[in-house]
């Protein structure tokens, strides 16, 4: 089983870096576009950063369903567990 807490921390770190935000302003409930101000290109860039960081491929369909930080964590945990 992948360590969910650790994964969430890593994801928040990546988002904070890419969007120029303080880590402690980002929670699992934060909506990446509406709360954190990411535009469509930012989101695409973030997906690539997640893929590179966790060495996975997030397919387009699953990427479409991601809105919050928690959604990202869930998606990545499930993909890592499948592997």
């Amino acid at each position: 089983m992948a360590d969910e807490k650790q994964i969430e921390a890593k994801i928040i770190e990546i988002i904070a870096e890419q969007l120029g935000r303080e880590k402690d302003t980002i929670t699992s409930a934060s909506d990446i576009a509406n709360d954190l101000g990411a535009d469509s290109l930012d989101v695409a860039e973030l997906m690539i950063a997640f893929e590179e960081s966790f060495d996975i491929d997030i397919d387009e369909e699953n990427a479409q369903n991601i809105a919050t930080v928690g959604d990202v964590v869930k998606q990545i945990v499930s993909q890592l567990d499948e592997n």
Binding site: L19, G20, L41, E45, I48, E52
Partner: protein
């Protein structure tokens, strides 16, 4: 009704400094901004020297998180553009946004980003390419970012005529203001091609100086020992404005744009016509459109890149246009001797210097002109700046593709 066009703001990012007064002072004092190319791979290249903006940062104008979304050439234009707007005291929120423009020249766009992403593509596949790739490399990004900052909704586009890009951009603006289409514009040129592809590409053409052991001596326009141009990077951005509009808001008028000439060699994709027929026609058209006689011109800021053929062709062009007598009397210089060739940015930086030459009555020098080429027999202001009253200037730019674009400015007289 034909309007008058004036220049009310200047901005610069150059190898001699990132503000207008610093760059101009260092230029006048004969300093060189050329040095060894700061790249770890340097030694595998034939040419290893460049005019670089080494410690340039776009902050605070671009937030740290956004810096990676804007390629270097657009960063240069952004910073120089903001400085020009600030110097002009222009508040775009008080303008009719549809009567404002942002037209910026750039020769090749984001070469370095193409290299970075191609490397990623080769290594990790197409799905790992940055979504910012295209918006970064497109050369119209320079004009578009400035438009976004200021809410400019009139004509906004990039101009690509290689090394004549900036002059062609400024000519477009001049015409748009003159015919009453727009009131005010941000314009000029930018380039950041000191990258692997840029240096290797121009190097492959044998266009670059390989005087690697003496970088400051490498850019030697009109000199017998010149061996090509030194690639440079930076931006020169200006505010062009309709005269009455400038007066109404009490702007400080720095100079008037009074004419231009634009022609094309249409002979070879890179090699200039050696007799300067078409470049000469551009200079001549500039005189005509400014309503000047040949002897009226006080200073010509030459294209003067220090290629074997180009400097001879330009000399011939000036003689054709002005006639032998007037050509021998006019002060000429190539500021590329100090900063290298900024390609699509060169015309912008050179028009900034041209404006300052009228303000201060100083002809900037052609550095390294120690043994003039017998085929280059004009007064190129060798080695040191010269004081001289300057009322009328022509700034020349010629680009690969055969583009010839010249602009005439004059001291402003109401």
């Amino acid at each position: 009704m034909s309007k008058r066009v004036v220049i009310t703001g200047l901005g610069i990012v150059s190898p001699l400094g990132y503000d207008v007064e610093t760059a101009w002072r260092r230029l006048r004092e004969g300093e060189s901004g050329v040095s060894l190319w700061e790249n770890p791979l340097r030694d595998i290249f034939r040419a290893r020297i460049a005019g670089q903006c080494l410690d340039f940062t776009p902050e605070p104008y671009i937030e740290p998180k956004d810096v990676k979304k804007v390629e270097r050439f657009a960063q240069f234009a952004y910073v120089a553009g903001i400085r020009a707007v600030e110097a002009a005291g222009l508040d775009f929120s008080r303008e009719n946004p549809f009567r404002c423009a942002s037209i910026v020249g750039c020769g090749v766009g984001g070469l370095a980003e193409i290299e970075r992403q191609d490397e990623k593509l080769t290594k990790s596949g197409p799905s790992r390419i940055s979504p910012f790739t295209i918006p970064k490399i497109m050369l119209n990004a320079a004009s578009a970012h400035l438009a976004i900052r200021y809410g400019i909704h009139g004509p906004v586009y990039g101009v690509a005529t290689a090394c004549a890009s900036a002059n062609n951009a400024m000519i477009d603006v001049y015409k748009a203001i003159k015919c009453g289409e727009i009131d005010v514009a941000i314009t000029g040129g930018t380039e950041a091609a000191v990258s692997k592809l840029g240096v290797a590409g121009f190097g492959a053409m044998r266009a670059l100086s390989e005087r690697n052991d003496a970088p400051e001596k490498a850019s030697r326009p009109f000199d017998s020992d010149r061996d090509g141009f030194v690639i440079g990077e930076g931006a020169g951005i200006l505010v062009f404005e309709e005269l009455e509009h400038a007066k109404k808001r009490g702007a400080n008028i720095l100079a008037e744009v009074v004419g231009y000439g634009a022609t094309t060699d249409a002979t070879h994709i890179t090699q200039p016509d050696e007799e300067g027929i078409y470049a000469g026609a551009a200079v001549e058209a500039t005189l005509r459109s400014a309503g000047w006689n040949p002897e009226d011109v006080d200073y010509i800021n030459a294209h003067g890149t220090a290629t074997k053929l180009g400097d001879v062709a330009e000399t011939a062009a000036i003689k054709r246009a002005l006639g032998e007598d007037a050509a021998k009397k006019v002060a000429v210089s190539s500021t590329k001797s100090a900063i290298g060739h900024l390609l699509g940015g060169s015309g912008g930086v050179e028009l900034v210097f041209s404006v300052l030459s009228t303000r201060d009555g100083v002809v900037p020098p052609t550095l390294n002109l120690e043994n003039p080429d017998p085929k280059c027999d004009l007064d190129y202001t060798p080695l040191v700046a010269r004081e001289r009253k300057i009322d009328r200037v022509i700034s020349n730019s010629f680009g690969f593709g055969g583009h010839n674009a010249c602009i005439a400015i004059a001291r402003f007289v109401d």
